[in-house]
């Protein structure tokens, strides 16, 4: 499904290479986790995959279901089914959460040549999905992420994900800033979306999120490369011993 091949990326403003040959394949129906110390390039990977400006792809390729997506605009990638749950969701004052969702959903449907969703269908859908994430009607009406607590922001990301039904979901440190209860809620939301047609790339610092979202494969990223891949036990190893052993091993 998502195939990252020898991806090299440097910053546009300064001549600094951040990703130094990332290889990674996420198959449909699987959950991959990426762990790694600060500054290893995890967040950069999520931004580059989703098309944020400010990065130069100097080598390598990324395919989503066979389409090379690196030359596409962010919205084109979104329409192909790529979704990024932001580490720091952005506030948009004055724009109702629901308006935002409907505009996004219809934009994607239109890009795919589908009809717009009717107002009633949309309402039904959004209420149903919101209820499972304990998002109340007030939060749906408030401006996007404005005045939301950390937990509300992250739940809102998952709501967007549930509404847009992407094919590949990238979660960038979705657990950061969450207490245990909020994390469970978010994890349940993610688990509810797991199915055989959908792949997940979960970026996290800590093993604890992976207690709730069980990964199929765990990758350790350091200095712009994946230095080790393995099963869920790899995450536990990091939890117990930190990254230093793995880093030594790699060098």
């Amino acid at each position: 499904m998502l195939k990252i091949n020898n991806l090299h990326v440097s910053l546009e403003d300064e001549d600094k290479e951040i990703l130094k040959g990332v290889d990674l394949t996420v198959d449909a129906g699987t959950v991959h986790a990426i762990m790694g110390p600060n500054g290893s390039g995890k967040s950069t990977l999520s931004y580059v995959l989703s098309g944020k400006e400010g990065y130069n792809v100097t080598d390598g390729s990324v395919e989503l279901n066979g389409d090379n997506i690196m030359d596409l605009e962010p919205e084109e990638r979104a329409a192909l089914g790529l979704f990024l749950a932001f580490q720091y969701p952005i506030e948009i004052p004055g724009v109702g959460n629901m308006t935002f969702l409907r505009t996004a959903l219809n934009a994607q449907r239109k890009a795919r040549g589908e009809d717009e969703i009717s107002a009633t269908d949309f309402l039904r859908l959004v209420r149903e999905k919101a209820a499972t994430l304990k998002i109340d009607s007030d939060m749906l009406k408030r401006p996007v992420n404005v005045g939301f607590s950390g937990g509300e922001k992250k739940r809102n990301e998952i709501l967007q994900m549930a509404m847009l039904e992407p094919k590949i979901c990238i979660l960038d440190e979705t657990d950061s800033g969450l207490d245990v209860d909020a994390m469970k809620l978010v994890a349940n939301g993610v688990n509810a979306l797991r199915n055989e047609g959908r792949g997940f790339l979960v970026i996290t610092h800590y093993q604890r999120l992976l207690d709730h979202i069980k990964p199929d494969v765990v990758h350790i990223m350091a200095d712009g490369k994946i230095i080790k891949s393995g099963g869920p036990e790899l995450a536990l190893e990091v939890e117990n011993n930190g990254y230093s052993d793995l880093l030594d091993e790699a060098s």
Binding site: I92, G94, T103, A107
Partner: protein, 506 residues
């Protein structure tokens, strides 16, 4: 109750906006209509003023009122304090009077109406029924559709071409007609109020308007009457090198209410065109007037050629106690905008509100704001201004709040927000505050922000195109003002916001 019951309205961008953004790549109303016009010679002088007066079959008192204004105007100089920069205007190189030839005699049926005039209305989105009425087809106005309850008065270049729903309004006692008609039919009202809010000597452009105004709208709401429908005037400048000088006079008698909408468009021209309007509103005791404008005159092209120079004097006088006036404006067009709709809060406990969205893109320059003059006790005013600058445009908010010594316990709240798109445009805020008593309170809040890349990326990651994302963010920024508009206008305004910001990113 449940969330989302307000989903289809107001709250953000609707689908039409999005379609409009995608489909319309340039100024939508930029076509011109090839209609045989009757012009007066270029320039302004006594003969022209007399001619305009004569063409409108005006009584002598009106002619001399105009001539007096002309005399004053000759001694005045153009004000230069606004933050706008434009080439010297040659006031003698303008046509001050133009009207469609087919209007010389009123047509009897649609067949007699110049088809091009009808085509113009169609392009403006005015339904056929109203096209007939506007074109002056006899009898058409007596059979209104009954669904769309907005009475329209259309002003094409210098002349009012027709007013709809007249008879229905008449039943309620409301007078809604062109000002030229009012001068003939209701001379007492006109004599009493014309120039009483914006005096002939007020300012350079208002004085010029007083001398040469060709038409405009007149509204009188009798005591205690709530106007049964919204009133609307549609202004269009069509002829080349023509100045449009319309004059609007609205009188809300004691305890009455009216909501008035004004829309404006003009064709694309390489040369700049002049527009200097005057709007006077008289609000008596316990009366309330809402005046909404969507100004979409041609803004000039991307390189700053052409466009309308828009010098407008709008003022409301709250004469009676508890009188209320609310100005709402969406200023997206014009190459140069010079406009300060004001409120004189004379009556005790009278209230003035000003809600404004001013967008300046490409080479547009806007210097706009309001004046709140608190004269009565316990008067209140509220100013909400949203300025958006893009391209290389300059956008200035200029506002004055004045508390007279007699205006005890009065309040003003001003919120003034600027949004910048790109890094070559400018936003300026120039508030003048004068408080001459110690029981009044004035609050002023101002912010300046940028549409940031993170917001746009967030929207685009969710699937929106770049321009759609900008429109969404900007409409969010303008929300407080969009909500103050009547529903029909709010939709149009949202679309305009999107269209006028096209090409401002990327």
């Amino acid at each position: 109750m449940e969330a989302g019951d307000t989903l289809q309205v107001k709250d953000g961008v609707d689908q039409e906006t999005i379609d409009a953004v995608k489909e319309v790549s340039t100024y939508k109303y930029g076509w011109d209509t090839d209609i045989e016009m009757e012009y007066a010679p270029k320039g302004v002088n006594e003969d022209i003023v007399k001619l305009i007066s004569e063409k409108n079959s005006e009584p002598e008192w009106m002619t001399s009122w105009r001539l007096e204004a002309l005399e004053r105007w000759k001694k005045m100089t153009e004000p230069k304090w606004a933050m706008v920069d434009y080439p010297e205007i040659d006031f003698q190189d303008q046509y001050y009077y133009a009207r469609p030839k087919s209007m010389v005699e009123k047509p009897k049926s649609l067949d007699e109406v110049d088809p091009k005039l009808l085509a113009t209305y169609e392009k403006l989105g005015i339904p056929l029924k109203e096209q007939m009425i506007l074109a002056g087809v006899e009898g058409a106005a007596d059979k209104p559709d009954g669904e769309r309850k907005v009475a329209v008065d259309a002003v094409f270049d210098s002349v009012s071409v027709g007013t709809t729903f007249k008879s229905e309004l008449k039943k309620a006692g409301v007078i809604f007609c062109s000002i030229s008609e009012a001068i003939k039919e209701h001379p007492d009202l006109v004599k009493k109020y014309l120039g009483s809010v914006v005096p002939v000597s007020d300012n350079f452009y208002a004085t010029l308007n007083s001398a040469v105004f060709s038409d405009g709208s007149f509204v009188y709401i009798p005591p205690g009457v709530k106007c049964p429908m919204e009133l609307s005037t549609y202004f269009r400048i069509n002829a080349e090198n023509t100045g449009q000088f319309e004059r609007t006079l609205i009188i809300a008698d004691k305890g009455s209410y009216v909501s008035y909408l004004e829309g404006c468009t003009a064709p694309k021209r390489d040369t700049a065109q002049l527009h200097a309007a005057v709007v006077e509103i008289v609000v008596e005791e316990d009366a309330e007037v809402k005046y909404s404008t969507v100004q979409n005159w041609f803004p000039g092209d991307e390189n700053g050629n052409g466009g309308i120079y828009n010098f407008v004097t709008k003022r409301a006088d709250c004469r009676g106690d508890r009188a209320k006036v609310m100005w709402t404006q969406v200023e997206t067009g014009s190459a140069v905008t010079w406009k300060y709709p004001s409120c004189i809060l004379r009556g005790d406990e009278s209230q003035g509100e000003f809600y404004s969205i001013a967008i300046a893109n490409n080479h547009q320059q806007a210097d706009t704001g309001t004046k709140m003059l608190h004269l009565g006790k316990n008067t209140k005013s509220r100013i909400v201004s949203k300025g958006i600058s893009a391209g290389v445009a300059q956008n200035t908010y200029r506002g004055q709040v004045n508390m007279h010594p007699r205006a005890k316990n009065s309040r003003n709240y001003t919120q003034c927000d600027s949004l910048l798109i790109g890094d070559k445009c400018g936003a300026h805020t120039v508030p003048y505050i004068e408080v001459k008593n110690n029981s009044s309170r004035v609050e002023h809040e101002a912010t300046t922000s940028k549409v940031d890349d993170d917001q746009l990326f967030y929207c685009r990651q969710r699937g929106m195109g770049e321009e759609e994302a900008v429109a969404l963010v900007v409409n969010g920024f303008c929300k407080d003002v969009l909500q103050a508009l009547p529903m029909e206008f709010a939709m149009e305004a949202q679309q305009l916001v999107a269209i006028s910001l096209e090409g401002s990113v990327g």
